[in-house]
């Protein structure tokens, strides 16, 4: 562009040349855009397409892009080939329990860290921050031993308790609570408002966006989690959907990819729906988290 303008500014040839370059750039961008969409959506398209094929069609070479005759029956088969409803219920129970307990533990802790001064505050907040860095993949073995001793393996407790609070959400919410104008809180206190009332009437409404962010991130993480339900349970009693669906791949007669992909679609649909409705907020939430 620069070169073009230097060579022939004002002349008809220069104008024409610039137009050509601009056109080429435009086309180039479109090609790249289409490639990006293909690269990131094709796998999902393939999942959907395979979920509607017959077993024979999944094994033909070269594979067909679209199913010749969509097999909606595959979804019913996926639903019945594993205790799908049972896994689904477990996923819903665990996710809701984690969300509820986090609300009860995260909000008070964030409030206290933000609004009170007390001895040992720095140390306690330090412990909270350090925990953010401890992945579940590091502590599952000692926790399995501990939960076995408590007798809560294969109960909801083992899946819910460790996630009953979130150091990360405490950190995020405290940042927001710190922005509350001091005068407002003091005025409320002078009016004789109780702490609970101050939290519910002042802090929670102000932190709505952060609360939604925390809830969304926790919901996605809990619903998607495969590792914890896999390692902390030994049977199907409380196992969640991702573990249930993934267990379908281990069939002796080879993997029935059409049924597996149908189950995978069903597993992904809740998150896909949430994402399509809240993609703007989710993207903002992650950008906001990364900013902290």
């Amino acid at each position: 562009m620069n070169q073009a303008s230097n060579e022939g500014t004002g002349t008809a040839r220069g104008v024409q040349r610039r137009a050509v370059i601009r056109g080429a750039r435009c086309v180039g961008r479109w090609v790249i855009n289409v490639l990006l969409v293909l690269l990131f959506f094709f796998p999902f398209f393939w999942m959907l397409s395979s979920s509607l094929k017959t077993l024979g069609e999944t094994m033909q070479f070269p594979p067909s892009l679209l199913p010749a005759d969509p097999q909606w029956q595959n979804f019913a088969d996926a639903w019945t080939s594993i205790p799908f409803a049972h896994y689904l219920m477990n996923s819903v129970i665990v996710t809701l329990a984690v969300l509820g307990l986090q609300l009860l533990t995260v909000v008070p802790a964030a409030y206290a860290f933000s609004q009170y001064r007390f001895a040992g505050q720095g140390v306690l907040f330090g412990i909270t921050l350090v925990t953010m860095m401890v992945p579940a993949q590091l502590v599952f073995l000692p926790l399995f031993a501990l939960f076995a001793k408590w007798g809560i393996i294969n109960s909801y407790w083992s899946l819910i308790l460790p996630f009953a609070t979130s150091a990360f959400n405490i950190f995020l919410l405290r940042q927001t609570f710190n922005q509350m104008p001091r005068e407002l809180v003091e005025a409320a206190r002078l009016d004789g408002a109780s702490e609970l009332k101050i939290i519910v009437r002042l802090f929670l409404p102000m932190a709505k966006a952060t609360l939604a962010t925390c809830a969304l991130l926790t919901l996605i993480a809990t619903w998607n989690d495969y590792f914890w339900p896999l390692v902390l349970t030994t049977n199907d009693a409380v196992r969640t959907l991702p573990v249930g669906v993934a267990s379908m791949r281990a069939s002796e007669s080879g993997v029935n990819y059409h049924i597996l992909m149908a189950a995978n679609v069903l597993l992904t649909v809740p998150i896909a729906i949430i994402y399509s409705f809240a993609s703007k907020h989710i993207i903002k939430a992650f950008a906001y988290v990364g900013d902290k």
């Binding site: 790249i32 855009n33 990006l36 690269l39 990131f40 796998p43 999902f44 999942m47 033909q60 070479f61 594979p63 533990t105 995260v106 008070p108 802790a109 409030y111 206290a112 609004q115 009170y116 001064r117 505050q121 412990i127 921050l129 350090v130 925990t131 860095m133 401890v134 992945p135 993949q137 590091l138 502590v139 073995l141 000692p142 076995a148 460790p162 009953a164 609070t165 150091a167 001091r182 003091e186 004789g192 998607n224 989690d225 495969y226 991702p242 669906v245 993934a246 990819y257 597996l260 992909m261 995978n264 597993l267 992904t268 993609s279 989710i282 993207i283 992650f286 950008a287 990364g290 900013d291």
Partner: protein
């Protein structure tokens, strides 16, 4: 903080009393003492539920793992045999462990390098705030919100050597495909590619917001100085986004060090141990080979690796909090 300030100001009576009671009430000394005791322990009571959960389920297990690494134990029998550092000696003498460690480090290095690199290129490409870019951002980000289990099942099917679309696409270009997950030379790079596909959206998203945060007048000044694109990038863009780049490197390193799902679902550490990683072998030794002490020793190695990057993260966090 308001409370602390009030106390520091020496208390004008009204502010102090309002902590616990209404200022207009005349309260007895005893009641006031009880109230101030309540005010003293209140923060701890309020924090307790969260902190107990964090300490019992996330801090204590680390110490417990260090303790377990000194024993021989099968997780089931009541008897634990003290062996001291024998687990570590065995671990460091085991060639398979070194390969597992090398796999983990190679995986982490390439996922972070390619992921952040591609994230940066994508971010620069999508940095302008337009409708198309917003849509593309959502597209590139979408794999990030999907469960790793789903992604693993999906790519296992795509990379199927006989019927998967990847090899047929290559065949259409006259390239003969490979057994992506069954060839020891290709399996680890294949897992790296999947991880990059999943996380590049996140990296680019964070970098786009960093790029948009760069003050526009800096670029205008560069244009006035006739700086070319590359110089502008090197002298203005890169220094200003380097804290974000560093943040992403640390976050991605910790995420890569704990890789498990793709391996457990797609390769089980094979072929020929080519995709075995620290977390997967920790899982195998703990739950399949019933060597808990040995597994805990592997866990300690992982702890050290994560610890190094966690320290880096907190240094960074402290700096950012300081400068903002």
């Amino acid at each position: 903080m308001p409370l602390a300030n009030k106390a520091a100001r020496g208390g004008d009576g009204i502010g102090e009393a309002s902590l616990a009671t209404k200022p207009t009430l005349v309260v007895s000394a005893g009641r006031r003492r009880a109230a101030s005791f309540l005010a003293l322990i209140k923060p701890y009571v309020v924090i307790a539920p969260a902190l107990i959960v964090l300490v019992v389920f996330w801090i204590y297990p680390i110490f417990d793992m260090a303790y377990l690494s000194l024993f021989k134990w099968d997780l089931i029998s009541p008897e634990m045999v003290w062996v001291g550092l024998e687990n570590f000696q065995n671990l460091f003498a085991d060639a398979q462990f070194w390969q597992t460690l090398a796999n983990t480090l190679a995986y982490t290095f390439f996922v972070v390098l390619i992921g952040v690199g591609m994230g940066l290129v994508t971010a620069i490409y999508l940095r302008k705030n337009t409708k198309t870019n917003g849509f593309l951002q959502a597209v590139v980000f979408s794999p990030y919100v999907v469960s790793l289990a789903s992604v693993s099942l999906l790519w296992m099917w795509i990379m199927n050597k006989d019927y998967g679309p990847l090899n047929s696409i290559l065949a259409a270009f006259g390239i003969s495909g490979v057994d992506w997950l069954g060839d020891p030379n290709v399996a680890l790079p294949a897992l790296i590619a999947i991880s990059v596909w999943k996380t590049v959206g996140y990296d680019s998203l964070i970098l786009v917001s960093a790029l948009r945060g760069i003050p526009h007048h800096l670029y205008e000044a560069a244009r006035l100085d006739h700086a070319d694109g590359w110089t502008t990038f090197r002298k203005i863009t890169l220094p200003l986004i380097s804290p974000t780049l560093f943040f992403l490197v640390v976050v991605d390193v910790i995420a890569s060090l704990k890789v498990f799902e793709t391996i457990q679902i797609m390769t089980l550490g094979g072929p020929q141990n080519a995709t075995n990683t620290l977390v997967f072998s920790l899982y195998q030794y703990g739950f399949q080979f019933n060597k808990v002490g040995y597994a805990a020793a592997i866990g300690m190695v992982l702890l050290v690796l994560i610890g190094i990057f966690a320290v880096a993260y907190f240094k960074l966090l402290a700096n950012r909090v300081h400068y903002r």
